[in-house]
């Protein structure tokens, strides 16, 4: 039985010691960062983690199901506005309530948009998602007595875990300190949880079915995978993840405006996934970090930041078509081969 054993070994290489070590090291680094970095930089890491969740959700569709959505701002914005509405209309301050409401609301929006979009593929899918997301954007803009219009809605510092942290430490710190420490670790915990859940989903039989649809939808149908139904479920999961990111983002930003519902924000999410490498699991997360840092750096460096950012991003994509993580993987494989030779 040695032959089947070797096959098993090859397919169970998902959790190699090397990969586990890389994950553990990354977690360690993320864990000690707030102790080393100035608060401003810690906040940037938070933004990176949050955008990473958004890009991870987006990539379930692009990388695993073969559907390019230009409308993911709809889910991010829904998450953000759901939290803001809880504050404005019910006076709720609990972060957990924000998350439950935001995820449920983005699931609802995904259920509606997805019901229309998953009937189509390729450019038709992408443009339809874009168009429907812009309906939400225009609502946020026009219904200003509800949504605050272009001024947006303020979201003050939330209580985490029913205020358990505040009481445990017994210190009232200012907002920056709250965001750079307690909120950072909260975001990190949610990020780890969300990433783990997504990792399991893409490696589940369901995830395999999505990849089969991506590779060959006709054949997928002929092995009994009901393509449209699976696409719809993937759309819901994707929307919920990006919605969760929107919820986490809003206390950090302190404010939500229609900008997060506007289509350029969808474009950013697309870019993060492509920049990091949408053919890999970790690519979108890395892409989100790098994109966020580049944008912050470009804004502080020049008034022509959009131009500079555009040139850098085009150069990166042209030189690394498989993205940062894809290219790194190829380099590693090449190094291993040349060492063996």
């Amino acid at each position: 039985m040695s032959a089947p054993g070797s096959v098993a070994a090859a397919t169970q290489a998902l959790l190699t010691p090397g990969r586990l070590a890389a994950v553990a090291l990354s977690l360690l680094v993320l864990g000690v960062l707030p102790l080393i970095l100035p608060p401003f930089d810690t906040l940037q890491v938070s933004y990176g983690l949050i955008l990473g969740i958004a890009a991870l959700g987006f990539n379930l569709l692009l990388g695993y199901t073969g559907l390019l959505s230009f409308g993911h701002s709809a889910f991010f914005g829904t998450g953000a506005y759901a939290a803001a509405f809880l504050v404005k209309y019910w006076g709720v301050r609990s972060m957990e309530a924000f998350i439950v409401a935001g995820v449920l609301a983005s699931l609802l929006v995904a259920a509606l948009i997805g019901a229309v979009c998953v009937r189509y593929t390729r450019i038709f899918f992408g443009i339809l998602a874009l168009a429907l997301s812009q309906v939400l954007w225009s609502l946020a803009l026009k219904l200003f007595w509800v949504t605050g219009g272009t001024d947006g809605l303020r979201v003050p510092t939330p209580t985490l875990l029913g205020g358990a942290f505040t009481q445990a430490f017994g210190v009232q710190t200012d907002k920056t300190a709250f965001l750079a420490y307690r909120y950072y670790y909260y975001v990190l915990a949610v990020f780890v949880l969300a990433t783990t859940v997504m990792w399991v989903i893409v490696h589940s039989p369901f995830g395999k079915a999505l990849q089969a649809i991506r590779d060959n939808e006709v054949r997928a149908e002929f092995v009994g995978v009901q393509v449209r139904r699976y696409r719809y479920v993937a759309f819901l999961v994707s929307g919920a993840f990006t919605g969760l990111a929107g919820v986490l983002w809003v206390p950090l930003n302190g404010l939500t405006t229609p900008e997060v519902l506007y289509w350029p924000f969808s474009g950013r999410i697309v870019f993060m996934a492509v920049l990091g490498g949408f053919r890999t699991f970790w690519g979108p997360i890395v892409g989100a970090f790098v994109y966020n840092y580049l944008e912050v750096w470009a804004v502080s460096a020049t008034v022509y930041w959009q131009l500079v950012l555009g040139v850098i991003l085009v150069a990166l994509v042209l030189t690394m078509p498989t993205g940062l993580v894809g290219t790194a993987g190829q380099l590693l494989a090449w190094l291993r081969r040349s060492r063996r030779a």
Binding site: A3, P4, V7, A8, A10, T11, Q12, L14, V200, I201, H203, S204, P205, F206, G207, K208, A209, Q211, A212, R214, D215, N216, V218, R219, A220, E221, F222, V223, G224, V225, Q226, Y230, V237
Partner: protein
């Protein structure tokens, strides 16, 4: 005992009657060769039976079920599977996962989001066993897009076979491979199909292959059935000889 009854099936594309009032019974356990020149309606007939598109008229009764109006998925559940003329695989998945996916699907496990596919030992063992039957075991961990054309043709059949069908359609299982590779591929396929008692319908342009492996041959011409019989009967049939076999200039031959 009949497994599939095709009654007066008709399908037109515009003015072209691709399948014209075909009535045919497929017997349980037989290995049926379906021959005819390009455009005779062979692949259209298979598409109608597997549910790729609906028939304009006629009825299909499979194993006692009326499947005329059933979806692709419902037809798979009652036991109809097919391979494809142009290889149709999941190229970015491994050879093993191509077969494992079929097994997950058959067992209803593709609805599972919370288990790791690679940790399902029973499915993996079955997938490895299927690959072994088709001589593809050594390729299990590589991507399906990276194996040779002959191996891809076999994997295409293995993916359909892993659905454990009662009736398996093989649309040109040896097209696009060298003459030398054809017989070994057919040997493997027929060995598996006969060992499991699966009823098979094979569309093939290579007459040597069809006459060597089929129990019965059905010849189609311009959407209709020209003749049906044992290989010897078909060989002696004058109409078939004139329209199909006589023209050995057949580009696909």
């Amino acid at each position: 005992m009949s497994l599939l009854e095709i009654r007066n099936i008709t399908k037109s594309f515009g003015d072209n009657r691709a399948v014209d009032d075909v009535t045919l019974t497929i017997q349980r356990g037989e290995f049926l060769g379906l021959i005819g020149s390009n455009g005779a309606g062979k692949t259209t007939l298979v598409n109608l039976i597997s549910g790729f598109f609906p028939a304009d008229r006629g009825a299909l009764v499979f194993d006692g079920h009326d499947i005329t109006r059933q979806s692709i998925n419902e037809r798979i559940r009652v036991g109809i599977a097919r391979s494809f003329q142009l290889v149709n695989l999941f190229d970015q998945l491994t050879v093993l996962d191509n077969v494992a996916l079929t097994i997950f699907s058959r067992q209803g496990k593709t609805r599972w989001l919370w288990t790791l596919a690679d940790r399902d030992g029973a499915v993996r063992d079955e997938a490895v066993a299927v690959l072994r039957q088709f001589g593809l075991e050594a390729h299990a961990p590589v991507l399906a897009g990276s194996i040779s054309q002959g191996e891809r043709k076999l994997l295409d059949v293995a993916v359909a076979y892993a659905l454990r069908p009662k009736l398996l359609f093989l649309d040109e299982p040896t097209s696009g491979v060298s003459t030398r590779e054809k017989a070994p591929i057919m040997d493997i396929i027929t060995a598996v199909v006969r060992a499991e008692g699966i009823t098979a319908v094979v569309i093939e342009h290579d007459m040597d292959i069809v006459f060597r492996y089929s129990d019965r041959i059905v010849a189609m011409h311009q959407g209709a059935i020209l003749a049906s019989g044992s290989p010897d009967e078909i060989r002696r049939n004058e109409q078939v000889a004139m329209t199909l076999l006589g023209t050995h200039a057949d580009p696909q031959g």
